[in-house]
Amino acid sequence: MSWDTALPLLIVVSSLIPGLIIFFLAEKQVAARITLNMLGVLVKLALAGVMLWGVFHGHHYEVRLPLLPGLDLVLRADRLSMLFVTLSTGLWFVTTVYAIGYLEDSPHRSRFFGFFSLCVTATVGLALAGNLLTFLLFYELLTLVTYPLIVHRGTEAARLAGRNYLIYTVGGGALLLLATVWLYTLTGTLEFTARGFLSGLDAVHHPALVVIFVLLIAGLGVKAALIPFHGWLPQAMVAPAPVSALLHAVAVVKAGAFGIVRVIYDVYGVEFAASLGVTLPLAILASVTIIYGSLRALFQDDLKRRLAFSTISQVSYIVLGVAVAGPMATIGGLVHLVHQGVQKITLFFCAGNLAETLGIHKISEMNGVGRRMPWTMAAFTVGAFGMIGAPPLAGFISKWYLGLGALDADQSWVLIILVGSSLLNAAYLLPILYTAWFKAPPASWPAERFFGRYETAWALLAPPVVTALLTLVLGLLAFAPFSPLEWARLITSREFTP
């Protein structure tokens, strides 16, 4: 087995093995667990770096293991997958640091970190999947390994949330399975190919392809929290903050969105999908989700719930971008995959910090919290402005390309959606900032803890600050080589140039 075939496997295994070992560690072996965890993270980061470099220089990484008759488990690194791999690996790093700080002295940490690692394994596998079957495999694996994270707290609310999560995701998985099998019987292949592999199919099958598309989108839309499959996401907020961060920014929601991108690009092919007439309804669905999620977010008092509805709205930008089906909009959608992740993870880290340090869960309790925790709230501010799309932050770049793409593809109505959503974003995020910075703080906080030198534990403080900086850098240096934007352009050039 040469290096080129070993690398995709190694990158998946690098978090799988630490995860599996961690399960068997005793609760008290903190040092061993942290070492293992960080070792896995660093190895994965290094491998991802190598792979990114290789893919950039046109290297071909692929491994095939026979899985079913005629179908292989394919792990392949292409540009699109590297976008997601880098995102999830990088954010996994910060989230792990955060989780170590967050879960200090709480029970069942071995279980938690074990599943945490498995979750990233599934995400990276999903990113590298070279055919729909492999994708499905990791997609379902993701469902299974995130469930224990959601119910980690073990309360009744957590159990119910977990159950709802399962009802949605297992159902979605079933639809995906059905669609995959159907597709396979029609075409005899499931290999992701640039510009899709369906356009050559006989016109007789086109109605079937439309139905399959609907099934696929429904199956993936459950995780991407498209309307009307979004119900599980706000409920899943009972999970600990690092899990919410992971769910919203890296793993689950992104997996759905990424899957939709894959389906549109590498299964159907944008042009063929557009000729089938399925992209416009999808774009409309995404738009409805964007507006609806923002509207719901507006009326939430619970901070994490507001952020959850915001995720519902923001993730649909990605879907909207690819569904508008023009090169510019695609860049916007793809780049938003990364940008939304970085921004949203910042917000969730900050929400977790507030809950952990001061016991604040509601926005109405946040009066003047900026004075008590300036660094956290500064990071939150950057994240929030990024979400609104204020320049020069990352969110601006996404919105910019989405807007340009809409004009480019002669779908000006998308601009109205963008405008409405920006307005609503501002309407539900800016009051939080206002409350936190400019209102007078109360005499005492609900459950305050002190952590010595900084406003909170360093492991809790560093991750949001780092991701907030990243938000700034991603926006400010959007044109630098290896920036997500440049990468998204590379991907798009493959899909659209004649």
Binding site: L67, P69, Y147, V151, A158, V170, L177, W182
Partner: protein, 482 residues
């Protein structure tokens, strides 16, 4: 050396070994545990030998005493029987290890001989090449199984054992009647010979009907599953595992053999009926499993549902469907054995198996819970697992043949399975107090369950190799890359 291994008549060894082991256990009860374990290991090795032989030399026919078919007793081994033997060996080894920690001494004295006899009967059944031999082994199997169910003691166990016995006899009778009819018409009971001679006639219809009804009764296809949940749930855990994983599969195996070789062109209405009943079993079993309040009953109903899947292959009747169905049978055996073992651990630890109170137990037995969950993954048919591969093939076959409604049933069944499996797993994460008195669960019991469940998952990765083995002798035609 290699030539020597291939030359050994493994088919005979496989039948004789367990019977001898059983006798030995019966004669020396004090060391029955070690004897039993050794025999189990030996059988496992012998199955390895047989598969080597088959890989090297193709399907094997062995005439006992050198008498040839129609007069003497023939043994026949091809990919299909190999699959069943491997399944029996894997589950059997697991059950043996598990039982060595499970039974108290006096129970063990009864258990080991019975269990090894049962294993011998199973092996003989999977290797028999004629219908009467099949009957004899089936009867033997049934009796041994009934005795094992009764081993739990207590009123409930005895009642269900009794009921099981009656059902078993009834089923065998039906089957025997069919065999008699066939013999009457064609003058032979060798499967290969019958396959050449049989032609559609009222007598053949009647024989098919009778034999099928008998075998379906023993396989507990809906609505003839009525005896199964009680029997499987009231037996001791390793016995439940055996019954669900292996014993019901034996009668199914006969049905499959008949269907594939003796009556290949049976009319489609009957196969559609089988498919319908299978679909009904999937749904009914799933729903009933959801409604159970006790863990072992839940698992037993899950068996009812999973057996239903097997019958979905009949209306499809393509090589793909058969392969998928057999793979399901295989992975279900492993997963279900693991599940029953896990349930046994929980029962032993907490003293009860009420699902609503599981949270008290579940957190203290992480390995057991892991085993249950992994097995559940295969039962649900989620990737990557043997269950998934099987389901994929079945789905593919149903979509390919245009009978998409079976695909819907498969999907629905998977959803129901997910619902009842997670109903149990959900309790693993809730906080609860320690139970007052906790039983001791030996590590080997936990690990056996985990290993079996893990193998069920592993099956998802080795399917191409497994299909190659199954295809030896082309028991269900070629194609499907199997």
């Amino acid at each position: 050396m290699i030539g020597d291994i291939v030359a050994i008549p493994w088919v005979v060894v496989l039948i004789v070994l367990p019977l001898m082991g059983g006798m030995a256990c019966f004669l020396f009860p004090t060391i029955s545990k070690s004897l039993g374990l050794m025999t189990a290991l030996a059988i496992f090795t012998a199955v390895g030998g047989l598969s080597w032989q088959l890989v090297e030399e193709g399907a094997q026919r062995y005439a006992i005493g050198g008498w040839g078919a129609s007069l003497g007793i023939d043994l026949y081994a091809d990919g299909l029987s190999l699959l069943m033997l491997v399944m029996a060996a894997l589950v059997g080894l697991g059950v043996s290890v598990y039982s060595s920690g499970y039974f108290s001494r006096d129970k063990a004295n009864h258990f080991w001989p019975l269990w090894l006899f049962l294993w011998g009967a199973l092996n003989a059944l999977f290797l028999s090449a004629d219908l009467f031999n099949l009957y004899v082994t089936l009867e033997l199997l049934g009796l041994a199984a009934v005795a094992l169910v009764a081993l739990a003691g207590g009123r409930g166990a005895l009642t269900s054992a009794m009921r099981y016995l009656l059902v078993s006899l009834l089923g065998s009778l039906f089957y025997l009647l069919g065999v008699v009819l066939l013999y009457h018409s064609f003058g032979s009971l060798d499967i290969a010979i019958l396959a050449q001679r049989v032609e559609p006639s009222p007598a053949v219809w009647a024989a098919v009907g009778l034999m099928s009804v008998g075998l379906l009764l023993k396989t507990a296809l809906f609505p003839m599953h009525f005896w199964l949940p009680a029997a499987h749930a009231s037996a001791p855990a390793p016995v439940s595992a055996l019954l669900s994983a292996l014993v019901v599969k034996a009668s199914f195996y006969i049905l499959l053999r008949l269907w594939l070789e003796v009556f290949p062109q049976t009319n489609t209405a009957f196969s559609q009926l089988l498919g319908l009943l299978g679909a009904a079993a999937v749904l009914w079993g799933g729903l009933m499993a959801l409604r159970q309040t006790r863990l072992k009953m839940l698992i037993a109903y899950s068996t009812v549902a999973q057996l239903g899947y097997l019958f979905l292959a009949f209306p499809l009747a393509t090589s793909c469907a058969w392969t998928g169905m057999l793979y399901l049978l295989f992975s279900h055996a492993l997963a279900k054995a693991a599940m029953f073992m896990a349930a046994g651990n929980i029962l032993r630890y907490g003293g009860h198996d009420r699902i609503a109170d599981l949270d008290q137990v579940a957190q203290r037995l992480p390995l057991t819970l892991a085993a249950f969950s992994l097995a559940g993954v295969s039962i649900m048919g989620l990737p990557p697992s043997g269950g998934f591969v099987a389901k994929w093939l079945l789905l593919e076959a149903s979509m390919n043949s245009g009978q998409w409604w079976w695909a819907i049933v498969l999907i629905l069944g998977g959803l129901l399975a997910a619902a009842y499996v997670f109903r149990v797993i959900g309790y693993a994460f809730t906080q609860a107090e320690l139970p007052h008195e906790a039983g001791v669960v030996p590590a080997r019991m936990e690990w056996t369950a985990l290993v079996l469940a893990f193998v069920a998952i592993l099956l998802g990765f080795i399917s191409p190799a497994a299909f190659e083995l199954m295809g030896i002798g082309a028991p269900f035609g070629v194609g499907c890359a199997g």
